[in-house]
């Protein structure tokens, strides 16, 4: 008995053995060195960093109080921003769904279509909205059209990829049942696949609309329409009180968008 108790007391336990501990310290050291290297290499002008609090209070003072002068202008621009997001999301649906269909393994007609679909999705997603906007401003000139197309081209990848995944996750058994009734491919899709991906579809589109509102607020910085255009103008002319109003307006818009989307989402899910 005593012997046994002795044995118990002597048992040791370590979460990590010596080798594992060494590896963990090495990883930690490596990470710190990476951070140090990055900070040294990017050439920060430190006096400006130390001066930042000063500058902040200075800027704040110049912005306060926000100017209500161009308010109707700002509200119009906000509305345009929302329109860009809505139109772009709506257009995207028609372009992204066929891509999702051919990019889903279980519905794609053949290998070539699968890779074409995936290529479209990857290239759409790997280019940022602002970069798309620069491209379309160069092609169509500055304005709302360039902004809408920029958001469409970025959203195709988002909605297409998530819808493709939703299609791949469906229960196959209803599909089998519909095939057994002698239904054509289109009818099988309409009855066995569409109802199964409907909830995902609404959730994804609402989410993307929300993201698109936020993205369309910055499109104006490259001349692609929306609130960003007057924001850029106000900054360029040092009209700081107007800048403050615009920033507040953007925050309120995003909050409203957030509220609407979470309401809609609770309705569909």
């Amino acid at each position: 008995m005593v012997d046994h108790a002795q044995q118990l007391a002597d048992r040791v336990w370590h979460r990590y053995d010596r080798k594992e501990r060494l590896i963990r310290y090495a990883v930690l050291l490596g990470t710190l060195m990476l951070v140090f290297w990055a900070v040294r290499d990017i050439d920060i002008f430190w006096p400006w960093v130390w001066d930042a609090p000063n500058q902040m209070s200075n800027l704040g003072a110049r912005m306060w109080p926000p100017s209500a002068a161009g308010l109707s202008n700002i509200l119009n621009a906000l509305l345009e921003t929302v329109h860009i997001a809505t139109l772009a999301t709506f257009l995207t649906i028609f372009l992204a769904l066929p891509v999702a269909y051919i990019a889903a393994q279980n519905t794609t007609p053949n290998r070539a279509c699968l890779w074409l679909g995936r290529f479209i999705l990857v290239s759409s997603r790997s280019v940022n909205t602002i970069i798309w906007a620069l491209l379309f401003v160069a092609i169509f000139g500055p304005g709302v059209l360039a902004g809408i197309l920029a958001i469409v081209f970025r959203s195709i990848g988002f909605i297409g990829k998530l819808m493709g995944e939703a299609i791949e996750e469906i229960d196959r058994r209803p599909v089998e049942a519909m095939e057994a009734t002698g239904a054509s491919k289109a009818k099988v899709v309409a009855y066995a696949i569409v109802p199964q991906v409907m909830p995902a579809f609404f959730a994804i589109v609402i989410l993307r609309w929300d993201i698109n509102i936020r993205e369309s607020t910055v499109l104006g910085l490259v001349g692609a329409g929306g609130i960003g255009v007057i924001l850029q103008g106000a900054i360029d002319t040092f009209a700081w009180p107007t800048v403050a109003t615009i920033l507040i307006a953007i925050i309120i818009l995003v909050l409203i968008g957030e509220a609407i989307t979470s309401l809609l989402r609770s309705k569909v899910l």
């Binding site: 058994r173 209803p174 057994a180 009734t181 239904a183 054509s184 009818k187 009855y191």
Partner: protein
């Protein structure tokens, strides 16, 4: 009449699942197909409506060869073959009525299908059949709100909506509790005689097979090793079909509680 001759099915380069099966089913007879898991029951049924492509052999329904038909012709052949599934395979998010009318998809055009504008005759037929099996009051309920037995009734009515010349039932009772599964077997039996419809039922439950069907076909390793009336299905036949195979117990006992899965068929 269904005539299967020398049916062979092989998945890839593996050993054949069906090794030259011959089966003749006269009109309005209810045939049960028994056999251990992996014996090829499910594959045989799915070869008939071509959810699984047969490797070789011939399947004739009322004189029409089914093995080599393609495209629109295949779909026309399929709509004359109703199928009832183990997992019901309903369209869960749609209403019971939509599920039932889906049995007409082979007959209506795409616009009618998508807009749910089915011919009045189809709707009448749907209500008549739903009343016959006692689910008419669920017409506007979502299919996933129903109980297992009710869901399988929806599955049966959907198959009958096709005005089939043949009904296939792939373990229609294996997902149901004992009493409900008896009810479904009785339903299949009486519908078959009412509509003078030949029915092929894959079943694990030998007791039910003997009670509710008039002919039993036993499969083992893709070959038919028993074919006769329930009265002739004795201990020897049972041993021949299930003997030496692991876990035959739930197949022989009154009610199988375990759902024994057939190998997955990755149909095209």
């Amino acid at each position: 009449m269904l005539e299967i001759t020398n049916l062979v099915k092989r998945y890839g380069h593996n050993e054949a699942v069906l090794k030259g099966l011959d089966l003749k089913v006269e009109d309005n007879s209810v045939v049960s197909i028994v056999g251990a898991s992996g014996a090829g029951k499910s594959t045989m049924l799915r070869c008939i409506n071509r959810l699984v492509e047969p490797t070789s052999g011939s399947i004739k329904l009322n004189g029409t060869e089914l093995v080599n038909v393609k495209g629109a012709e295949l779909r026309r052949a399929r709509r004359k073959i109703g199928m009832v599934f183990q997992g019901f395979n309903l369209l869960d998010r749609l209403t019971v009525m939509e599920n039932v009318l889906a049995g007409r998809l082979g007959y209506v055009n795409l616009y009618q299908a998508i807009s749910r504008r089915y011919p009045q005759a189809d709707i009448e037929r749907a209500f008549t059949l739903m009343e016959r099996v006692g689910i008419a009051h669920y017409a506007n309920k979502r299919a996933d709100e129903l109980s297992g037995g009710e869901r399988q009734r929806v599955g049966v009515v959907r198959a009958l909506m096709q005005e089939p010349d043949l009904l296939l039932a792939d373990e229609p009772t294996a997902s149901l509790d004992p009493r409900t599964s008896e009810q479904i077997m009785i339903l299949l039996q009486s519908l078959a005689s009412e509509l003078s419809l030949p029915v092929l039922i894959n079943i694990h439950n030998v007791a039910q097979a003997k009670t509710y069907t008039e002919r039993i076909v036993g499969l083992r390793h893709g070959k038919m090793i028993f074919d006769g009336v329930p009265a002739d299905f004795n201990k020897d036949a049972l041993d021949a079909i299930y003997g030496g195979i692991e876990a035959p117990d739930d197949a022989i006992t009154e009610q199988p509680d375990a759902r024994v899965e057939e190998p997955r068929h990755d149909a095209v």
